[in-house]
Symmetry: C2
Subunit: 327 residues, 2 copies
């Protein structure tokens, strides 16, 4: 193991006051993007529960595409009350589960000037947070990356890494530009969008197709799914349903999106989706954020979505919530 010492590249509006960032949900995604912000000079605090001791002592090890890195956060905390001051940016990279609401989880850490970045899966996840913090800037974040947490404080970066950022509900703010400059300085491709809701749909097209399929097909990798013609057909059919629902909501997704998603998937090594990894590990899955959101969006506009409805039902049955409890 030969970790490279990170070479911070400062990309701040004011070099005298590094922005402070708190990462809530410092698993694979939060650890990876938190490390990037730290490389760019931000003071990044990470919140951990079970990994606290490990990270406090040894930092977060990231096995990157071409190098290893140890990310030592500016501060490591095990509860929000341990944070001395509210951060400039609060990066939420929690798994997108229905309960408890994100607003409740983050409330103790939100200061007057804190911008909240929701780097999570799902649709329309900004609105409840905006309602809870009506005066605060909410930034939608979309990560296009393959990561795997392989041990406490130990992440493997498998491919991609692009992040898309956009102020909710639209428009581009100085804080979004500042964040983008930090990620860019850290060497990550970063895209700014003034239509983050549309970006969420673009990501959902991939997630809805590959995540449930990977689980229901017996925890198959993306490569295994695409190797079987029936698998590729299923993926395309699901993507088409999501694209149609997006259109019914006024989001015309890019021409050739299906081909682009398939191409990007084929270009990576065999990959277990996050939902398959959660399933294999017996953890809660993002079924609601990925399928529930798509199904609800379809129903709201009276759009037929037989495949998504079917996958949703199968995942609900597989998870068994409502079966075991009342059984």
């Amino acid at each position: 193991m030969s970790p490279h010492a990170p070479t911070p590249t400062t990309a701040l509006d004011s070099p005298l006051s590094p922005p402070t960032v708190l990462v809530i949900g410092a698993g694979a995604v939060g650890g990876f993007y938190g490390a990037a912000l730290a490389r760019a000079g931000a003071h990044v605090t990470t919140l951990h529960r079970s990994d606290y001791e490990q990270v406090r002592q040894y930092g977060i090890r990231i096995d990157g595409l071409d190098r290893q890195e140890i990310f030592h956060p500016h501060r490591v905390i095990d509860r929000l009350e341990a944070l001395p001051d509210p951060p400039d940016f609060l990066l939420v990279s929690l798994k997108a589960l229905p309960d408890p609401p994100v607003a409740e989880i983050i409330r103790p850490a939100v200061g007057d000037q804190t911008a909240i970045i929701l780097l999570q899966n799902g649709l329309d996840i900004e609105e409840p947070v905006q309602t809870a913090f009506p005066e605060h800037e909410i930034i939608a974040g979309l990560a296009f990356v393959c990561l795997q947490k392989i041990a406490p404080g130990h992440i493997r970066h498998l491919c991609h890494g692009k992040i898309t950022l956009g102020r909710h509900p639209s428009g581009i703010s100085p804080k979004v530009r500042q964040l983008a400059a930090l990620f860019t300085a850290a060497g990550l491709p970063c895209q700014i969008t003034d239509t983050p809701a549309r970006a969420r749909w673009i990501k959902l097209v991939w997630n809805a197709a590959f995540n449930p399929t990977s689980v229901l097909a017996g925890d198959r990798t993306t490569e295994e799914i695409l190797r079987l013609p029936e698998g590729e057909k299923l993926v395309r059919d699901i993507m088409r349903e999501v694209i149609e629902i997006a259109a019914a909501h006024g989001h015309d997704l890019p021409e050739g999106l299906i081909e682009a998603h398939l191409e990007a998937t084929r270009s990576i090594p065999p990959y277990h989706t996050s939902m398959a990894l959660d399933h294999l590990a017996g953890r809660a899955m993002e079924t609601d954020a990925i399928l529930g959101a798509a199904v609800r969006a379809a129903r709201r506009v009276g759009h037929s979505a037989p495949l998504l409805e079917g996958l949703w039902a199968l995942m609900r049955l597989l998870e068994g919530d409502g079966i075991e409890k009342s059984g």
Copy 2:
């Protein structure tokens, strides 16, 4: 264990010559219906591979709904060449798998006068057998029964038991009447149909809805599937798709079929479908006979069947044929 000695009730055209029956595929279904024919006075031979020694020595134990029975076949064989004479009836109750073709399996046992009963799942399964034996009577058999083979030579009968019989492709023959009389004499509800293809669709409506769902949802019972509103909706949606495909093929299935199927399913104890039992035991599943048949039928008439196509793809991925082999 207090097995009742079976009381044969003769229901033969000629009491002097009991009809001879050979059961190929004497698992749960073949053992159960073979035992019924024996109770009615037929001379029933059963063919076994792994269970041969067990059945030869101890017969087939059937734990029935209200009694136990030991079925001692007239003859127990371990290969078709051991059969001295071709049977009057050849009862095929093999699992419906694509290979090898049924006609090849049964050929050594088919005599000039042998009628072939296909008591199997699937659609259009009579045609290839009729083609192989153009001069022979082919009888379609549909079993509406819950059975489970719990050990070698040991069957549990859980519910129902009705059998539907019809000469392929249509019409009612003396042999069908003779068989029906035997099953009726044995105490089993037996229905004769002159449209067996339609009866196959009626059974497929249930099979396509419950069998793949039970497997993909994590080997759920019928009761668990119906306990979740999403599960019942999925079952109804799949049934509707199959009914529409049947209609596109000229088979108008009975009004209220979905309600009748759901009612019959709710009336039974929590039940693992045959496909879920096969999956749990790591055995080959009837994916092709149940879903493949429905999907092919839809495609032949250009009918859209998104749910069945999706389930088919998921089952193909789960089974992994074409993934592991080329991987």
